[in-house]
Symmetry: C2
Subunit: 440 residues, 2 copies
């Protein structure tokens, strides 16, 4: 097959942008040998054209003028790696309007403005490829879109944010406090100076919006997803959970009920320590997909970082150049939610198991008090721990695991528990998620 | 988008064939809503048209005359689910010559006659899709071909045969003897009445030939793969390995060395019990891929069975109907091995760690004897166990784990050990595989 030159324009020459250039430099020959496509970075746009990067560009490639990229009709594939939901949106819209297919790692933008961008792409006969938007180098997008397309997806359980997972793993394995583990993550480059997007759960929610849209074939909005971050997680709770056989993870969950309604949520979750996801440590990501025919399929790998993300971006570039991305994009249109029979189950309607910790005064009658509150709310206790003399200043932590309970009942009970004379401070409550294991 | 009817012909109406029909029946509406493709099973060919199957077909669909399928020009996609390497080959060739794209789960056929089939497909302008050939419902083929295409694949470690893994898992968890675990697997439907293909490692080798061909971009022949099965695995060795922190798995391995040479092998392997693959139990499959940019990516799921395999077949049908399979097939031609710079490293050149068990007479001077043989062959011992009085009839099992050692030195040492007066029976030797873990 004759070699076909594929000219690429990139906007955003940060870590991932440099990774994409580096990967193309390194693998161009191998990719040409495998696919007949000769990838060439023809234009890189960044406001900062001076800073030293991990890779060198030939003279004339780097520019701060995006028009140079947009007006070059020999560039058919444009990569947006600016990030964020403001400039990036205009950049992608302009790329599409200039007749270019778009490759992007921008989960936030797709989660927030996906509908508009996809619509514009269709209008201009272009496509948007976004393998790099979720789970870095792990090909989860193509897994959902092609490999598992013949299945009804009944559930997704994902560890989608490496920063949070790194922090929680360190709190589990090293006994660190949250602040300490966060500082360590920042030092190692796994957390940004402003870690809010990651630790608030919002980044996971962006990714869940994209994955669940694909799984459900329907545009899922960020508003449909309940989000709770890991900012308030304490070492005490991680230790107590471990004693009960649980590991704490920031989980992104999409669960389809029998009636077709869907629960979408991101929150800290205790999961059984023999589940596959419990063993995903450090900055890694993993996603368990429950598919009606294939059963459980799990993906594991690096969810972020320069080269893993570049791996996904370049695979998308090739997919676009071959013509497969356009086929998939055109065939697998995500329906507006109103046009499908998907009903979102709000968090108030959740039924879950829960971990509760109350700091109680170390005095007579306390157990009778808190157990009465739970009984009044029809909450059944599956396990409880009260270690002698383990709390500060005449208090003792009481740790309870519940059987399946409606979220509303738990909230009522938490209010009741907080009001007790014997309770010090606000009770802590963390959901326990029993991930079904696909067994023989 | 207007609905497009996709007529499908299937040859082979066994378990997987029935699964494909069932899945299409169940998901036709959902697939049509997602992709605009209305899948219709138009013709099913089987020599047995009488037997009751798990699904019913409309009248006139089931036939024992393959010509009916071949001559129907409205059928553009033909699925070969006959299995084996004889009839199935002619069937696929005839399908291609009749102008049909082929979807297949037949790993043995592709491993043995892949080159000829691919060549014929190209000659007739058709494609062959084979996601179902490896790891059942786990989309590993598309992962290697598209998701990880921008990477140099440096290694693959796979648990690719569910039957063997079920047997080894049971031997580990229940302390069963091999024969007992095999009988249980047969009773549960995880092993065939004649289990040879699975337990000999040959089925894993077929799959490794396919996966490594994709990973290396070069046609790998079955002859390039060293194959050793699990038939001789004993409970003693599993228990001894466990004591040393190892789990026994039947591993399919593709390792690329720094000089571009490749080691391809299927054999029982002790792996560290904290490695992700060690936790893959029962009939499940898992594949760890080490990719130059993405790092370690692991896939896990059901590697066989009616519906998981059907999931992969139907996803391929859709991929073919959309046009993506043809794009991929045409672009990613596997080069004949001679035309690439891949050198196969034969097993004799392997350097590995090893587990050795010798049954020794329980008498003075024995350790001096066996340790001398190892020393003479420059084999360094990393660990050893000799439990008092644990062997039958005045013998004691001596268990040794070695540091990295050339296969040739081990073979020489095994010959030397067998010759010792103090050795009873043939020494047992199992490779220890240190799967690198991609850490922070």
């Amino acid at each position: 097959m004759e070699e076909k030159v594929v000219k690429i324009g990139i906007v955003g020459f940060g870590t991932v942008g440099a990774g994409v250039v580096k990967l193309i430099n390194e693998q161009a020959d191998a990719i040409a040998a495998r696919t007949g496509l000769r990838l060439k970075v023809a234009c890189v746009v960044d406001t900062d054209t001076k800073r030293e990067r991990a890779v060198k560009l030939e003279k004339g490639i780097l520019t701060d003028d995006i028009e140079k990229l947009l007006k070059d009709n020999s560039i058919k594939i444009a990569v947006e790696l600016v990030g964020g939901t403001t400039f990036a949106k205009d950049i992608q819209l302009n790329m599409l309007k200039a007749g270019k297919d778009v490759v992007t790692a921008n989960k936030a933008l797709l989660a927030v403005h996906g509908s508009e961008l996809y619509r514009t792409a269709r209008q201009y006969g272009r496509c948007i490829a976004f393998e790099a938007s979720c789970a870095g180098g792990v090909p989860i997008i193509s897994g959902l879109r092609t490999g598992l397309i013949a299945n009804q997806i009944t559930a997704i359980y994902g560890i989608l944010n490496g920063t949070s997972n790194y922090i929680l793993s360190n709190m589990s394995s090293k006994g660190s406090a949250f602040a300490e583990a966060l500082a360590d993550a920042q030092k190692k480059g796994y957390a940004e100076a402003d870690p809010k997007l990651d630790i608030s759960g919002l980044d996971s929610a962006h990714k869940l919006a994209i994955l669940s849209s694909l799984a459900l074939g329907s545009q899922i909005s960020l508003d449909d997803i309940y989000v709770e971050g890991i900012e308030n997680v304490s070492q005490d709770d991680i230790r107590n959970g471990a004693e009960m056989g649980y590991v704490l993870k920031l989980l992104a969950i999409c669960q389809r009920a029998g009636d077709g309604s869907v629960s979408l949520r991101v929150h800290p979750a205790f999961i059984n320590n023999d589940n596959g996801l419990a063993r995903v440590n450090g900055p890694f990501n993993a996603i368990s997909i429950f598919a009606s025919a294939a059963g459980e399929v799990m993906y594991y790998g690096r969810g972020a970082g320069m080269m893993p993300t570049a791996s996904a971006v370049v695979s998308d570039i090739i997919d676009v150049a071959i013509g497969n991305s356009a086929n998939t994009f055109n065939r697998m249109e995500l329906k507006p939610q109103g046009s499908t029979n998907i009903k979102i189950n709000k968090i108030d309607n959740l039924v879950s198991r829960f971990y509760i910790r109350i700091m109680c005064k170390d005095q007579a009658g306390v157990m009778a008090q808190w157990s009465k509150v739970l009984a009044e709310n029809k909450i059944s206790i599956s396990g409880a721990i009260q270690h002698e003399g383990s709390g500060p200043k005449n208090t003792v932590p009481v740790v309870i695991a519940t059987h399946s309970t409606p979220e509303k009942s738990i909230n009522a009970a938490l209010t009741g528990l907080a009001r007790l004379d014997s309770t010090c401070g606000k009770p802590v409550c963390i959901r326990i998620v029993d991930i079904p294991e696909d067994k023989e």
